[in-house]
Amino acid sequence: MSLKGVLKRIAVSLITVFLAMLLTFFLLRMTPGSAIDTWARDYATQRGMSLDEAYRQITAMINYNPKEPLFAQLGRYLGGLMHGNLGMSMIYQNVSVNEIIANALPWTLFVLSVSLIISFLIGINLGAMMAFKRKTILDPIISIYAILTSSVPNFIVGILLLVIFSFQFGWFPVNGAYDPIVDPGFNFPFLLNVLYHGALPILTYVITTIGTWALTMKGSAVNVLGEDYIIAASIRGVSERTLMNRYVKRNAMLPLITTLAVSFGFMLGGSPLIENVFSYPGMGYYIGQATQQRDYTLMQGLLLVTSLAVILANLASDLIYAKLDPRVKLEEG
């Protein structure tokens, strides 16, 4: 892997980040509604004043100018970004977007990474077994499962799990990341409580992604099984277990590394649906809340970080894949 190739990949990623940022900025402002419409309505009711008066007071209160030209807003936003400042929430004026993201991101990363690791590990093992035992009942069972779970939206699966395990049986909490009776910190009761609350969101991701991993792995493993070195190893008397674990799985896994990064991006993008089902306080949850309130600064900050994560994951997969597989070279031209 040459330095030039790496730099080219990084440059493309930076351009993508910039375009994503611009797109987010303009698209959000094209959506109907305003941050202060609903607020003004409630305020007028509470204070016994006219809607016009409420609108005027709130506009002054939050120092918001709905008539500020779009490019002036963009200039202000870009100026802040240069200093790593994503701005203040429009609704919650005393909290910066950076603070909100710092609170939300760890929860999303926790759920996504745990579920990704679990589903990846189970999926590739199932896939390898399917490849080895193509004539058994295992293959069609897992194939049907994979088709079913990949065709049902993951938030529907989340709702089903919630109804069954939280509402019907009461085995898991209805929502949230932890109970208020535990003290947040690096202590056993808190960690246990976090795992308990994260169980259903994680299970939702695992159930809906495991089949896809298995099918992808099966396809890759079947290709590897046809390679000469596998046949040679088999003739040499290498045991089936060793053949599967050390010869097939290791090589068949390589193409899945790229998919892993792409999947992370997809899961992150879909997190608003899952996290809102479980009121899980991650990035997706706040994206949902900010969208409802038309809190532009919060929305654009959250979406920028989400885009950044996806782009970084893709960049990382490109670089790692080139490192793992010596046959792959990053193009320099």
Partner: protein, 635 residues
């Protein structure tokens, strides 16, 4: 995990009552005898800005949430929504003269941080929060000593009952002077810069003329105040903040509360569960001890069947579901067309779909008065003179023909230009009573020959669109009193607030120094009253609070209600019925209609006895309005 258990493992309420086992229900139980709610926790639902957005200033943008506000903060007085009964709270007593109201404070009230609550806190509350409605009627506030506050009213002053209601709207124990001194003193200094108001057409706090420049300085100070304050709320209420997560909040009994004997629960556990189906699941599982609202009939019956400890009370909501015609659009600017449309509607069907337990009032269009109180608030002779809008398709056809409409052979009505209309009813998509009843209304209009479609719009943009007049007809609460139950309160919604903007009443325009036309935001509506004279509605509304004679006030309301009904700016589909759920496994108390619980198998009908009605209002809006009824305790 919630500590409350499932409600089906113990004898149900009806079994207990039938067996005469009511000893633990109608009295405070000694701690040792508490069977189920040993931790003495009261479980309810609520909402708040999620950490890290949560902060301790209730006026901070985004607030701190409703439920915890109710239990952590108090006002001088307290009233239940939908009622005019005012009770003393932080006020020990009060007395009125012609132009003053003197309030004597409870002596042993402390803020949650241990500081004493004094008259300076109340003074500071209004100097800083000078946009509060009552300040428009005051000239000044004096604090002769730490425990006395004198409110000086403008001359003429609002009539005495209204003065107390205006004061009771506010939670004066929300701005501790010792915490917010800097902002209170700055606001006071700015107000002192203002000159007395001479232009009677203008409003101003403390009768002051707030210039544009001063207004900006006051807003800036307010803005800085809303960004400041403690990390957690500091009130004087019976519960103080303990902990908050995104989905749960714990508030603890305040040990130094001035009425310790009135607080029976040690802790309130507030759950934030926005999904309605999830809320019902929690009610069914007995994980909420009190729940506000009456679900659709089938869900209500299913919940009661599945948890035998649940008890449900119904009551009228001081709010109606209704449709407003957009008079900015033709042909809705024609009163005869609006009346014709109103005659088409069958309100019984609208109510059955919208809120089965609600009540329709077929005769009226929209009066600005809560329908269930029409008989009480409006003179019988005026009611008799109101146009009766009971469904009458012949009358609708007759009115349409009068304004040049014709019905074609295809059954569709055509306007005078021969065009078949196509109308839209807008409704917020997450408001089931509104969306469901609007769908039926659209079908009824279409069946009559006026093609109409429902447009259920995302609620985050619906109201702004409706206020701008984007729909021919819009759905919202109508004839509603958000605060005290006084017809002037609901008339304000009609002529000054939400109904005004959806109907599209015009505002008075004037020219600025540069000759540009500007909107004053003040209502420009002059119409004939019941006596045939022309009335300026805005002036009548502004006059009302100062009219000391009750009979004259009644005449103003009679006239405005008659004008509203005749002009038919909208249709009151039905008055909403709401309710309260009690989990009698975890909570006992002197429940209303106790003798009838077995007879109705816990699904209590609307109370007819005024004492029971009051008790149910306490049970419902009491738990919902900064007040923990004392007659309920852990079981």
């Amino acid at each position: 995990m919630l500590v409350s258990g499932c409600g089906t493992s113990t004898p149900g309420l009806v079994d207990r009552l039938s067996a005469g086992d009511v000893q633990d229900m109608q009295q405070l139980i000694p701690d040792a005898q508490i069977k189920y709610n040993k931790d003495k926790i009261f479980h309810v639902l609520g909402g708040w800005p999620k950490p890290p957005l949560y902060q301790g200033n209730p006026f901070g943008s985004g607030g701190i949430g409703d439920t915890n506000t109710r239990y952590m903060y108090e006002g001088l007085f307290f009233f239940l929504r939908s009622m005019n009964n005012v009770y003393n709270r932080l006020a020990e007593s009060s007395e009125d003269t012609d132009l003053t109201t003197t309030v004597h404070l409870q002596r042993n009230v402390k803020w949650h941080d241990g500081e004493a609550f004094t008259s300076k806190d109340v003074w500071g509350y209004y100097r800083l929060n000078n946009g509060a409605e009552v300040t428009k009627y005051l000239t000044s506030i004096d604090t002769p000593d730490d425990y006395t506050i004198v409110f000086h009213w403008m001359n003429p002053a609002p009539y005495p009952e209204l003065r107390k209601l205006l004061l009771a709207q506010d939670l004066q124990g929300q701005i501790p002077y010792h915490i917010y001194k800097k902002y209170v003193d700055k606001a006071d200094a700015l107000l002192q810069e203002a000159k007395p108001l001479t232009d009677k057409s203008k409003d101003g706090p403390f009768n002051l003329d707030i210039t544009e420049e001063l207004s900006k300085k006051i807003a800036l100070n307010w803005n800085e105040f809303t960004r400041s304050g403690p990390a957690i709320p500091v009130g004087t209420g019976p519960y103080k903040f303990e902990k908050v997560t995104t989905t749960d909040m714990l508030i603890d009994k305040f040990e130094d509360y001035w009425r310790p004997d009135a607080v029976h629960f040690d802790k309130i556990w507030i759950k934030n569960v926005p999904e309605l189906s999830a809320q019902y699941a929690l009610v069914k599982a007995g994980k909420l001890d009190w729940y506000d609202g009456t679900p659709p009939k089938d869900i209500l019956e299913s919940l009661l069947k599945q948890n035998k400890n649940l008890l449900h009370y119904r009551m009228y909501d001081p709010a109606s579901v209704g449709l407003m015609y957009n008079i900015r659009n033709k042909p809705f600017d024609n009163v005869k067309f609006r009346q014709a449309m109103t005659y088409v509607l069958d309100k019984t069907k609208l109510r059955e779909i919208g809120n089965y337990y609600g009540k329709e009032y077929p005769k009226i269009s929209m009066t600005g008065v809560m329908p269930s109180s029409l008989d009480k608030e409006i003179d019988a002779s005026v009611l008799d003179q109101m146009t009766d809008y009971t469904t009458n398709l012949d009358k609708a056809a007759e009115l349409l023909k009068e304004i040049g409409w014709k019905k074609g052979s295809d059954g569709q009505w055509r306007d005078p230009d021969g065009k078949v209309p196509s109308f839209i009813i807008g409704a917020p998509n997450n408001w089931a009573p509104g969306v469901n009843s609007a769908q039926i209304a659209a079908e009824q209009f279409s069946k009559f020959g006026i093609p109409t479609k429902l447009k259920a719009v995302d609620s985050t943009i619906y109201f702004a669109n409706a206020d701008k007049g984007q729909y021919d007809m819009s759905m919202d609460w109508v004839d509603i009193s958000w605060g005290f139950q006084n017809p002037w309160s609901s008339m304000r919604v009609l002529f000054w607030q939400g109904t005004k903007t959806k109907v599209g009443f015009s505002n008075i325009k004037k020219k600025d120094e540069k000759g540009n036309e500007i909107d004053t935001g003040k209502l420009d509506l002059k119409l004939p009253g019941i006596d045939g004279k022309i009335y300026d509605i805005d002036k009548e509304m502004k006059r009302f609070p100062y009219v000391q004679d009750e009979q004259e006030r009644r005449q103003i309301i009679d006239n405005l209600a008659w004008i509203a009904n005749e002009n038919c700016w909208g249709v009151n589909f039905f008055q909403n019925a709401t309710g309260a759920w009690i989990n009698t496994k975890m909570m006992s108390g002197d429940f209303p209609m106790m003798e009838q619980i077995v007879q109705y198998n816990r699904d209590m009908p609307l109370a007819t006895d005024p004492v029971e009605q009051l008790a149910i209002t306490h049970l419902n809006h009491g738990f919902n309005s900064s007040y923990m009824p004392e007659e309920y305790w852990p079981r």
